[in-house]
């Protein structure tokens, strides 16, 4: 599992690996928002938590279809399925690699982009925390959706349509944590719900992904 994780991290930083792509997309989306809604700082500060969460979610989406598609195309998914690694472990390692190359950089970059959107000072910590808790769920759910479309040629669009509805709970509670945090309100309930979603997804979805992969490999 660790070997697979290291290989995927290595591949993501090599040419064409897509590392940083999500981050650049996140940056651009966030920079574009003030152009769209106008430079009024009060309004920007109000919508900043939601915009940052939406941006993070969309950047996550960018790299999802590569999770299994590349391995399927070059045949290594078949070989992994016949290797001593359980497919559950493969799915978990893939999700972990996706989070390390997408979710974690997004989380670290979000506070800096918060400045661009005039995020209230009290919101920075909560925004970072909510992304840190929420992005693992995004990666695991995305891995499951990627497993569903293994074998579908150019399934990226289909993947987005499949995965975005599944992201709704994470988005609601994640953005709620950041919003309440920046408004100085009680944040514990949405934090707990967000953590619950993440833990549940991390615990269950690798098994479901493995099941789906087995069916798709037939």
């Amino acid at each position: 599992m660790i070997a697979l994780l290291i290989r995927d991290l290595k591949l993501s930083v090599r040419a064409g690996g897509g590392f940083g792509l999500g981050l650049a997309f996140f940056l651009i989306v966030t920079v574009l928002v003030p152009f769209g809604v106008g430079p009024e700082s009060g309004l920007l500060g109000k919508i900043a938590p939601g915009v940052l969460w939406l941006g993070a979610l969309l950047s996550c989406l960018l790299s999802l279809d590569r999770i299994f598609a590349l391995d399927w195309e070059d045949g290594s998914l078949d070989l992994l399925a016949t290797s001593p690694l359980p497919l559950e472990g493969v799915a978990a390692a893939k999700a972990m690699a996706h989070w390390l190359t997408t979710g974690l950089p997004l989380t670290l970059a979000a506070p800096f982009l918060g400045i661009l959107l005039n995020l209230p000072q009290s919101g920075f910590g909560w925004l970072t925390l909510s992304l840190a808790i929420g992005t693992p769920a995004l990666s695991v759910i995305g891995t499951f959706a990627a497993a569903l479309i293994v074998g579908v040629k150019r399934g990226g669009l289909l993947l987005s349509i499949l995965v975005l509805p599944l992201y709704v709970p994470t988005l609601i509670f994640g953005a709620e944590v950041a919003r309440r945090g920046s408004a100085g309100m009680e944040v514990l309930p949405p934090v707990l719900l967000l953590a619950g979603i993440s833990l549940g997804a991390v615990a269950i979805l690798p098994f479901v992904s493995a099941l789906v992969l087995r069916i798709n490999l037939r």
């Binding site: 090599r14 070059d74 016949t82 001593p84």
Partner: protein, 204 residues
């Protein structure tokens, strides 16, 4: 070592070969022959455990089978050594140097896989078999894009593998000069569609 008992395999939900039976003992090689589309790949995939059989069974420890398909499973952006050492780690073995040497890949070690020729890629794909350290090789068209010298090299590796107590099941049209029995799939062509399960079987 590997026993296939009354196996019926399906492609796309439709049975393609039925009641296939054979046995492979240690030190033996079996060459699967048949025209294109006759179900050789489906049979090998079923034996490797990648797809379920409709009926019958494969009696073999799944952990004993090393499967190699049409595609080599190479990562274009990793070097030859990185590709191979990844599989060595996955299979928990450390025989990479030997595998490189046996397939004459030593000089190519640090080349990224996307700069290799088709035959060199295939050799790297076959070298993966050695690092799996598994006794039963299930190979689908292993000699595609190999030149005559590399085919000889591959044949000698298979020979050594058999001599060490391994077994090999191959779908190939090339004569490797091995003492291998030939298994023709033509007589096993599925004639009718046996429906053993419920009405939704075609969707599973």
């Amino acid at each position: 070592m590997l026993k296939v008992d009354e196996l019926t395999v399906a492609r796309g939900g439709r049975p393609i070969l039925q009641n296939v039976s054979f046995e492979l003992k240690a030190g033996q090689a079996l060459v699967v022959r048949g025209p294109n589309g006759s179900g050789k790949t489906t049979l090998l995939r079923t034996i490797a455990g990648l797809q379920p059989a409709i009926s019958g069974q494969v009696l073999c420890d799944e952990e004993a089978i090393a499967y190699a398909a049409h595609s080599d499973g190479l990562k274009a952006n990793l070097t030859v050594a990185e590709n191979l050492s990844f599989w060595a780690e996955v299979f928990g073995t450390a025989q990479m140097d030997q595998a490189l040497a046996q397939f004459n890949l030593n000089d190519l070690q640090d080349r990224p896989a996307n700069t290799l020729s088709a035959g060199q890629k295939r050799r790297l794909g076959l070298a993966r078999l050695l690092v799996t350290a598994r006794p039963v090789w299930v190979l689908d068209e292993p000699t595609v894009s190999l030149d005559a010298a590399s085919v000889d090299l591959f044949a000698s590796v298979v020979q050594a593998h058999l001599a060490a107590g391994g077994a090999a099941l191959m779908a190939t049209h090339i004569d490797l000069g091995l003492e291998a029995k030939v298994f023709d799939v033509a007589p096993y062509k599925a004639s009718m569609i046996p429906r053993s399960g419920g009405f939704d079987e075609g969707f599973l």
